[in-house]
Amino acid sequence: MPGAQADIRITIGGDAGQGVESSGAMLSQALARGGWHVFSVPDYRSRIRGGHNFFQIRAAGRPCLSHSDPVHLLLALTRETIDVHVANLAPGAGVIYDDGFRLDAPELESRGMLPLSMPLAKIAEQHGNKLMLNTAALAAAAGILDLPLDVLESLLRDTFGAKGTKVVEGNLHVARAAYRFAKERYSGRLPYSLPPKAGPGAERLVLSGNEAFCLGAVAGGCTFVAAYPMTPATPILEWMAAHERDVGVVTKHAEDEIAAICMAVGAGFVGARAMVPTSGGGLSLMTEALGMAGMCEVPVVVVNVQRGGPSTGLPTRTEQGDLLFMLHAAQGEFPRIVLAPGTHEQYFEAGWRAFNLAEKYQCPVIVLSDQFLAASRRSLEKTAVSPESVTIDRGQLLTAEDLERLEKPYRRYAMTASGVSPRALPGHPQAVFTATTDEHGEDGHITEDMDLRVNMMDKRMRKLETAAAEMRGPAVYGPKDAELTIICWGSTVGPARESLPLLLDRGVRANVLHFTDIWPFPQAPAERALHAVRRAVCVEQNHTGQFGRFLRMMTGFTADGHVRKYDGRPFSPQQIAAGVLKEVGVRA
């Protein structure tokens, strides 16, 4: 319905290579500077030029946890954009397009849209140059939305500042002209307006999930990143490389993923906090070395930013298809920890917590995110991604002083009740030791002794029990006494939470049960939480319902319904609500 909005949604569409994503990022940033909360999601193809890309932005007065439907304002950089998105527009939604497109405006209007034709290309050429078309388009949108011009101007100054005054001035001229045109021609025409701003708070940041994660890793003392580029994990390597000098993180673009993880294991072995960001295909190649880290008890953090599978699959799209693979990758059995952060804040936290867990339990830690979480941008308070919330716990790491006090020869793999053996790093005369991926005794030497093997296996696996104590149970969002519970994990939490009011509108009082700590499984809190569930629908971004199957394996719990999506696009709250209603038999 037109009218006052809780939030407003804008989509920018165009061809690959037209700068859709950077325009979207700028508009998101401008809205955040203007005092709104934003959430935005890019949608692009696995190619460099050509093909329709788009960028969805949502702005609200309260924090948004996901994008949402339908769209109130469409910024069409190509004619195709209109055809693609028309089905998803709200009644009376505005469509900004270049007057050169020669569209049949009355026809658009008859289909319930508000055509907002503007001479964008002309304005760009006249006031700056052709390349500034996107600035014109952005400013036009700002004008339509009544976003203050000075906000846009300051952003343009900051963005283009490094390119010299001429570029800045050109962009400013173009922006002003387009803004003015939009206001003059169409003021008050759009039946939707920006919602009330958030209260005056701290200055907010707009970060992608991967960026939030990088900040977390920096805070967590990450000193070594090795990787091989792979969408959608590449931005982690690239961000770290760009900040290598500033924050002091060694970054290595390796010859392949096998080398990347092996380098990280080598770095972790000698004492660096080392990480490897990749996606499923890279993870497949890292499988063998994951077992090496497990066997030799080397801390290492592996980030799997999931994308659409199987195989090369849908390289630029999202999926939660690797859960069971991550839990069981590599031959044999060894302790690993699997975290599946769901929000930008949780992804930031996983960035430092993973290193603490890796060093405390001397094992590989897998951070399982996905393209949706990694690439979506959200406005956050600075405190949400600041070091104040961070602790650094290196676990049982022996200092030089500890080693000098040692009375018996150091045993790297000493049997302990917790399964964790005090760890020395190579380089100290008191702690010369050897490690091997073969089964070994306390001193790291190969053994084929049956009993020693069993004891060593038990020792290693005991670490999982020890770690389980600090794994977090699922979080509940929404009413505790809900009649229906949406069970989800990882990034699905955002749209799932946003679906609750939609369900309530349809008379279904639901809540969300969200898992972030997957392995070791937080058995007791999970069972407690499941005990309180009256009726459950498992919502996952995959084909086979992996988390539902996992939950049954661990607890015997069987969900009453399943909503699964595997088209590579993230769930919207509307899709979850519709899917859940269908599962519980409420007609949509």
Binding site: E203, R204, L205, V206, L215, V218, T223, F224, H243, E244, D246, V247, G248, V249, V250, K252, A254, E255, I258, A259, C262, M263, V265, G266, A267, F269, V270, G271, A272, A289, M292, C296, K382, V385, S386, P387, E388, V390, D393, R394, L397, L398, T399, A400, D402, L403, R423, A424, L425, P426, G427, H428, P429, A431, V432, T434, A435, T436, T437, I446
Partner: protein, 316 residues
């Protein structure tokens, strides 16, 4: 006992020193002795390599805690088990990559890789190629017995044409890898060959390889008495000659190195076949290493609000 909030590695941030000081006196061969007896076949060439490596380290006055020996999987890759030094027996084919990570995280360690020909040139071929051109300061000793020994006798990438094994019943008909030629083509800055049957020669070569700043390949002809009945001690002994004996040989010339490096058959050149000075090792060029090694970094510095104020700026 360990301090949970301890954000420093042992040895703190003494960047300018060898790790953790050095014991008094000089190391001796017995400094490197362990209680574990090698499980190699009596007469295996790996014994000679182990002895030469120990002797070379002693010559260089390096202490066990200053070394990290990284190996893969295979008979020869068991070497770290039999020497008292930091050791890491990794997975098959990957020691160069693990060693590179270790070196980048703690450049103060002398990092030495030992592995077999299957491990190094077969499954590990890609890391070999890229380590050559990367030039980290790592010594790479390949126990080249021209066979897969630990898996009981299949042909390896260095097996000679015609060699019959369980996986080449009609004789090998792939051209063998010539590690010298490949390393040369890939840009290695130190390339040598030696022979397990000439331990003094090997010891000298290893010492020079360790001293070389950058990646140094030492391909060692290593008789496997159990599975390679062709390339025996005698077979090698009759063929090897040291290029150092030839005054006209210039190991800094790419052309000379190519000519000799590709020689294999009735005569097999050993010694230092190529050496290029002045190429800075990879780790000396890494920006993040200029302020000290990751393992010596005080991680609490990362919790500095000023750092985050700076980082936050790009997201406003």
């Amino acid at each position: 006992m360990p301090d949970a909030e301890s954000a420093k590695a042992p040895g703190g941030s003494r960047r300018d020193k060898r790790p953790n000081g050095r014991p008094a006196g000089r190391p001796e061969v017995k400094t490197y002795a362990t209680a574990y007896k090698p499980t190699w076949c009596p007469g295996c060439g790996d014994f000679g390599i182990l002895a030469a490596l120990k002797a070379a380290l002693v010559d260089l006055e390096i202490w066990p805690h200053e070394v990290l020996i990284v190996s893969g999987i295979g008979c020869g890759s068991k070497l770290p088990q039999y020497i008292h030094a930091n050791g890491f027996m990794t997975i098959h084919g990957r020691p160069l990559a693990v060693a590179t990570g270790a070196k980048l995280a703690n450049p103060e360690l002398h990092v030495i890789v030992v592995n077999g020909d299957g491990d190094g040139y077969g499954i590990g071929g890609n890391h070999f190629l890229h380590t050559c051109r990367r030039n980290p300061d790592i010594t790479h000793i390949v126990e080249n017995n021209q066979i897969y020994a630990l898996t009981k006798g299949q042909y390896s990438p260095t097996s000679d044409p015609g060699f019959r094994t369980t996986t080449s019943p009609d004789g090998v008909f792939e051209l063998p890898v010539n590690p010298v030629a490949v390393a040369l083509a890939a840009g290695a800055t130190f390339i040598a060959r030696s022979f397990a049957g000439e331990p003094k020669h090997l010891q000298r070569i290893i010492a020079q390889a360790v001293r070389h700043p950058g990646y140094a390949l030492v391909d060692v002809l290593q008789p496997c008495i159990a599975f390679n009945k062709v390339n025996t001690y005698n077979w090698y002994a009759e063929r090897v000659y040291d290029v150092a004996a030839d005054d006209t040989y210039d190991p800094t010339s790419l052309r000379d190195a190519w000519e000799r490096g590709t020689e294999w058959g009735d005569r097999i050149p050993i010694g230092i076949l190529y050496r290029k000075e002045g190429v800075p090792p990879y780790e000396t060029r890494v920006a993040a290493l200029r302020d000290g090694a990751p393992v010596h970094r005080d991680l609490r510095a990362r919790l500095d609000p000023a750092l985050f104020q700076r980082l936050h700026r790009e997201f406003v």
